[in-house]
Symmetry: C2
Subunit: 387 residues, 2 copies
């Protein structure tokens, strides 16, 4: 089997060499002036990526820790909340909120569909809804939900809007302040192309005010404790120093390139991936338009099990794609194209897919058709000079 590995998943994503090198720099003390300065710079750069003037709070943890921080800091027993869900990560909000003894009102769409702003607003409009929890990029299906429209629909109700942007932030537009999103949570290991281990929450003024009176228990994930420390260039607890240093480097790369250029880069890779999937004669599960910028989900052909294809790709060819979650297990495969990815990662994924399909007894209609589809698209849409 191949000993060379290709990580073409929706996270963790590959780390640029300069980011990996930054993570390996000699350890520094988290209360040294150098680290304080670096942390403060990192928080300012995060605000730019979050498109917010709100505080971005930094936690050492997985993205789920930041999600939990929103639940524990905003809610009190008996609060009425709405969760809008159309996939695995929407369901995580339900489980998280349920773990704190609150039964959310659920506004569901089938996996693979987009959330419906009107239905969400109607559910929220019922008296007393404290907060609405939604997902931005639903990584399990490839759908990027329309947060701008959801925010506009929810705004008149006065409910707080909390967005899980773990797998979208930095990779697709999320105009936190302009759209009026109260809380955005994210993580280091997706579009921010840093090692996993840091999680973030941007918190609006009214979310902070609500947190002052919210009585669910929290200590490690307490927003006020974090905010009070961060004002001094500090963290409430020893942070993952090496990952903060790595993230600082990654944010520089992203912001030097320009967020809008990064978003277009991802959309372009997605267009190439979709052209390649069609060239393989396969169907798309994720939307066939520019909204699906983070993950392309493709349908397995009749008679080929997605998990088997995943395993052949991984164990024989060294290519790690993602399979399907829950009801989609075995039925789809997912190509991640966020973070440190380019055209030839898409080409590799498609070439590997063709080889694996042939090995599993399904010969695509045109030899090389997947790669040909992608390269034709990339050739027709040259990389912009500044992209």
């Amino acid at each position: 089997m191949s000993t060379k590995r290709y990580l073409i998943t929706p996270g963790p994503t590959p780390i640029p060499p300069e980011v990996a090198a930054a993570a390996a720099a000699p350890m520094q003390h988290h209360r040294s002036p150098e680290f304080r300065a670096l942390l403060l710079e990192t928080l300012v750069l995060l605000q730019r990526v979050f498109a917010t003037e709100n505080d971005v709070l930094l936690f050492t943890g997985s993205g789920t820790a930041a999600m939990e921080s929103a639940v524990a800091n905003l809610l009190s027993p008996g609060d009425r909340v709405v969760v809008a869900s159309a996939g695995n990560f929407g369901e995580r909000w339900v489980k998280l909120i349920g773990a704190y003894g609150i039964e959310p009102v659920l506004v569901e769409q089938p996996w693979g569909e987009s959330l419906d702003p009107g239905r969400i607003a109607a559910a929220v409009a019922e008296a007393g809804t404290a907060a609405v929890f939604v997902t931005h990029s639903e990584t399990s299906t490839g759908v990027v939900h329309d947060i701008e429209a959801i925010a506009a629909a929810v705004a008149p109700t006065g409910a707080l809007l909390v967005v899980d942007a773990v797998s979208s932030l930095g990779g697709v537009e999320l105009a936190t302040d302009a759209w009026g999103v109260d809380v955005v949570v994210s993580g280091s290991q997706k579009a921010l192309m840093s090692p996993p281990g840091l999680a973030f929450a941007s918190v609006s003024k009214r979310a902070r005010e609500r947190a002052e009176h919210a009585s669910l228990p929290r200590y490690y994930l307490d927003w006020k404790r974090s905010a009070d420390s961060q004002v001094k260039g500090d963290t409430a607890f020893t942070p993952a120093v090496s990952i903060v240093v790595a993230l600082r480097t990654a944010l520089d790369i992203i912001l030097d390139r320009g967020p809008a250029n990064v978003w277009e880069h991802n959309r372009r890779l997605a267009r190439g991936a979709r052209a390649g999937v069609k060239g393989l004669g396969l169907g798309l599960f994720s939307p066939d338009d520019d909204s699906a910028a983070m993950v392309t989900a493709l349908l397995m052909p009749e008679g080929v099990d997605g998990q088997e294809c995943y395993t052949v790709l991984r164990d024989r060819h060294g290519i790690v794609l993602a399979g399907g979650h829950g009801p989609l297990r075995g039925k789809i495969m997912r190509i991640g194209h966020m973070g440190y990815m380019n055209e030839f990662d898409i080409v590799t994924a498609l070439a590997g897919l063709e080889m694996a399909l042939v090995e599993l007894g399904h010969t695509p209609p045109v030899p090389g058709g997947g790669v040909a589809g992608a390269t034709a698209l990339f050739a027709a849409e040259p990389v912009p000079a500044d992209g």
Copy 2:
């Protein structure tokens, strides 16, 4: 000022070069067979360092997250618990438990004293104490509490014993199973000489059973969710992959050397540090015996402010020691000697201290007396061939 940095603190501690290199290896997917195998190996090595056959649960987070996991997984509202505290980290248990609405019974000793097993047992013996929370190495004072004696005293009461070993595990003996400790929590960035970002909790059978009925809310830090994932070589949430890889390398180094040899190495460095402090004509705040193996706390001479000394050392000489917490601020300084440290780190700390003291107007009685004290001790106690 010096551009060369010396991190001689009780954490984060310096990272061996091979551990730093491991952290910079290409990112791998956390559900790949290679990472699953590495995770399972790491968990087995952690069991050896924890001296336990209990599951060691791994969380991405600071040590405080693992402390909080013990509170949230073991307790229910209205539970009666005891906290034994003689320093800053003992007080953290009080704050953590208080954040969950439980007022612990506090068995305090003055900062710098050892916890009293008899007093703890007497407090616990009052009917219905669910659990006792104590600190192993109280980093704020340099005292390593006698967990063996505390465990023996508490055992007849049937209460669960929870030990914060964040800054001790791997650096000083902690015989989890032999002493009958139910829960030990620790972190990656102290004696385990890995980057900060991982936290651990070893959980005994009866602690696990209690957790099944404990009703405080938790999701990210839920023990059962972690344990159920780890059985499959998995983590419940995306872990700090690069730090797990680093830790795997660090644990190999520690276990190849042998835990008992590492403990003796730390005791020897501590003896050298104490000899050096005396050679500088200064007093010790931490105990003047082999129990104080992790941190040496020294008293500032009359007229010299410890924070000023800390700043001169750091900003002029590039040496980061630790100052005093809380009531000890300005009165003591602390030299960490755990993890990737050797004789010449102690020599550097002592030489720097002498220079800083002179610069602050306090000339020690014998020029070079600090370093002379340490080197005389090290020369008289040669490194064992296998140490």
